[in-house]
Symmetry: C2
Subunit: 85 residues, 2 copies
């Protein structure tokens, strides 16, 4: 089985209102030591182990760019590992 961890973040310069709200709330609660905060989405995906690494990687790239992220305002990174358990 292949296991992919995919992180989707906003591109540089794109407004992240959720992060702004959380950062403000942290200040209100006294956590002024938090100087910056950004948010993103996290996905753990399991893929059929009969695929080759290249095939699994193609699936991860396709679903990340087409379904899990919006390439106009977001970018994704991933790690693909083989889970033999």
């Amino acid at each position: 089985m292949w296991r992919a961890i995919i992180i989707v973040k906003y591109k540089e310069g794109i407004l992240d209102p959720e992060a702004k709200t959380i950062h403000h709330a942290l200040g209100t609660l006294g956590y002024h030591v938090v100087t910056d905060l950004t948010t993103g989405k996290y996905f753990e995906v399991e893929i059929d182990g009969s695929l080759s690494r290249a095939e699994a990687e193609k699936v991860v790239q396709e679903i990340s760019s087409k379904i899990l992220s919006n390439p106009v305002v977001q970018r994704f990174t991933y790690e693909l590992t083989e889970d033999k358990a």
Copy 2:
């Protein structure tokens, strides 16, 4: 400066409707090789570098459990690194 990467996931057994919806959509689009999918939130937090590691770690644990997650249904993991740049 301290930099923390915090991942918030649903606890085992907690329904994850977003993951279910995405997994279903992937099947509809022909990605039947995706056998499981779970979602989570990703946060990158910068913390004042004048704090000790223990102090920074305390801040990360507090904000993760009080603000970034709901401990009833979610759990968090984090990595704290020192960024000397």
